[in-house]
């Protein structure tokens, strides 16, 4: 299947981050069109009809989110672009930020018009400081040309955007923690409801949308919902940028229709497994997602297809592992990540992530006693049932799936007191 090249169409064009180049390639036409031809409700309706679902991981229908925001009477309202791309294995937003920043600004301005907001904030992780500079430069160019700021293109609609630099915390990618971080606090998830669409930033209606989600918007406006739905599946329309990493010959970002088969992505687009090694497992949605083994190679990559086999699409971070990978070591690496990133507020996550690391470290060097593998499973299931926010749910998914699919490796470490694959 050829790559549709919609979201990534400007990537690779020289100076694609510059306003004149963006405009030359059709940029800001969608924003101009809605200001001239469409009422805000019509924009919301169009996005609803397109079936676009949030690309940050949760897959919530974007049009619905906007409608909730638009119908709340409180003002001011906020559009927040979530550019805190932190899921291990994800690097799709980085390329859009660095090479197509105006597409993000245009998407945000259209969102602002749709919900009745005049203020946008891009929350970007500190690690993407280069991209933050690109966004800042793009905002200044767009202001000068009247594409953002006061009275956009001479209309009554004003919408300004600023960049907020994060300070290093994975949890701030979760929308309510992100809001707390902008408010100057430690980023800890809020209880829901109320949802941000009603009680968001400073308790005002707020739509938090992922970078890739926003980049879809101008295309939907220009080409319509029918065109958009001609890509992907009925429940997950459109294309998706998959970040493929790990043991493939050609790691990188690939834009493909939602629902593309896992094996097509890995073998046709990402060049197959390195050194002609054997495929072992894949994390289809980053470090938060349960792994899939070779019997699931034909699974369609979309929100529902992956949920049906007990995993998740997440942000589309496909981490491929070949037969040389030690699953205990990989599990420990992921467990350490979540231990570090747990905010510490709720007990099951704070203690659960801590003890999963300690138990895996014992297995790694063969100090474990029998029953400790099951103890990890037990801990994970408890976390799944009781953690306060999505981080706690994510923290055990990969490790439990490694144990579920490769239990003999965990037992082998204990029996042989070293790695049975000799990876360590």
């Amino acid at each position: 299947m050829p790559e549709p090249n919609i979201l990534l169409k400007n990537i690779g064009t020289p100076n694609s981050d510059q306003l004149d180049v963006y405009v030359e390639n059709g940029g800001y036409r969608a924003l101009k069109r809605i200001l001239a031809e469409l009422m805000p409700e019509e924009v919301v309706e169009l996005v609803k009809k397109s079936g676009l679902r949030g690309r940050g991981g949760a897959g919530f229908p974007t049009g619905m989110k906007w409608q909730f925001c638009a119908s709340d009477v409180k003002t001011p309202k906020y559009i927040i672009c979530n550019a805190d791309e932190g899921e291990p294995g994800t690097f799709k937003d980085r390329v859009l930020i660095e090479e197509d920043p105006h597409a993000i600004l245009e998407g945000m301005a259209i969102a602002g018009y749709a919900i009745g907001s005049d203020q946008g904030i891009i929350y970007i992780r500190r690690e993407y400081i280069y991209g933050a500079g690109k966004l800042q430069e793009a905002i200044e160019q767009a202001r000068k040309q009247g594409c953002v700021g006061k009275n956009i293109f001479g209309s009554n609609f004003s919408f300004d955007i600023k960049v907020f630099l994060g300070a290093g915390a994975y949890i701030c990618g979760e929308e309510t923690a992100l809001l707390d971080s902008i408010e100057g606090k430690a980023g800890r998830s809020r209880i829901k409801p109320p949802f941000p669409v009603n009680e968001g930033l400073w308790h005002r209606p707020t739509s938090v949308n992922n970078v890739e989600t926003l980049c879809n918007i101008p295309h939907i406006i220009l080409h319509g919902d029918k065109w958009y739905k001609s890509f992907g599946t009925s429940e997950s329309p459109g294309t998706k940028i998959f970040s493929v990493s790990g043991h493939v010959n050609k790691p990188g970002n690939y834009e493909l229709p939602m629902g593309v088969a896992l094996e097509e992505l890995i073998y046709e687009h990402a060049g197959g497994i390195r050194n002609e090694n054997r495929f072992k497992a894949v994390l289809p949605g980053g470090a938060s997602s349960p792994c899939l083994t070779s019997k699931y190679l034909s699974v369609p990559l979309d929100f529902d297809g992956l949920a049906a086999v007990g995993s998740m699409l997440g942000s589309g971070a496909v981490i491929v592992m070949d037969h040389t990978t030690c699953m205990v070591g990989a599990g420990l690496s992921i467990a350490r990540f979540f231990e570090h990133e747990s905010c510490g507020r709720c007990t099951p996550c704070r203690e659960g992530t801590y003890w999963i690391v300690r138990l895996l470290e014992r297995i790694m060097v063969g100090e474990s006693q029998s029953g400790e593998i099951d103890l990890i499973v037990n801990l994970g299931l408890n976390m799944r049932a009781t953690c306060f926010c999505p981080l706690g749910l994510a923290a055990q998914g990969a490790v439990l799936s490694f144990i579920g699919n490769f239990r003999d490796e965990f037992e082998g470490h204990i029996k042989e007191k070293c790695c049975p694959l000799r990876a360590y």
Binding site: E183, A186, V244, A287, I334
Partner: protein, 153 residues
């Protein structure tokens, strides 16, 4: 320790006066000025914003990128994300530790290098990676590491 010039903080605070919730940008700018967040600076910010210093510590210790100790001239951040891990990131980290004789979150005695283990840096297609002073170095090997360290030394 040398006393620090706190007057620079006045300017930073004045720049954010009208904004609610500006604590994180203020801490970022102060850290940029001094290279870290000295205790005196934190007390001074607390006075300026009329909040307690403990509240500021609560925020700054939550985020990975604030430091309360001086950092080395070169900040080496080694990615420990999942994609880097499966591409041999751990061996890369061990090699750096041995080369600099340093553990994570330590600074060399000559003040030239600080080593950090960090979560995914978002360049997984180039794994394993490290970031030296905001510059990404990709597809690392032991030879490349030695070159990077020698060039920065």
């Amino acid at each position: 320790m040398q006393a620090i010039d706190l007057s620079k903080i006045d300017k930073i605070l004045a720049g954010h006066q009208a904004e609610p919730g500006s604590l994180i940008p203020i801490l970022q700018e102060v850290q940029l000025e001094y290279g870290y967040l000295p205790e005196e600076a934190i007390d001074y910010i607390a006075d300026g914003l009329k909040i307690s210093a403990s509240k500021i510590y609560g925020v700054l210790t939550f985020y990975a990128q604030f430091h309360t100790q001086p950092q080395g001239k070169n900040l080496l951040r080694v990615c420990c994300g999942t994609a880097c891990h499966v591409q041999g990131g751990e061996q890369i980290l061990d090699h750096i530790k041995a080369n600099l004789q340093l553990n994570a979150n330590e600074t060399t005695e000559d003040g030239k290098f600080t080593l950090q283990e960090v979560a995914c840096l978002g360049c997984c297609g180039l794994a394993p990676v490290l970031v030296l002073n905001d510059e990404v170095h990709a597809k690392l090997t032991n030879e490349k590491i030695e070159e990077i360290i020698n060039n920065a030394r």
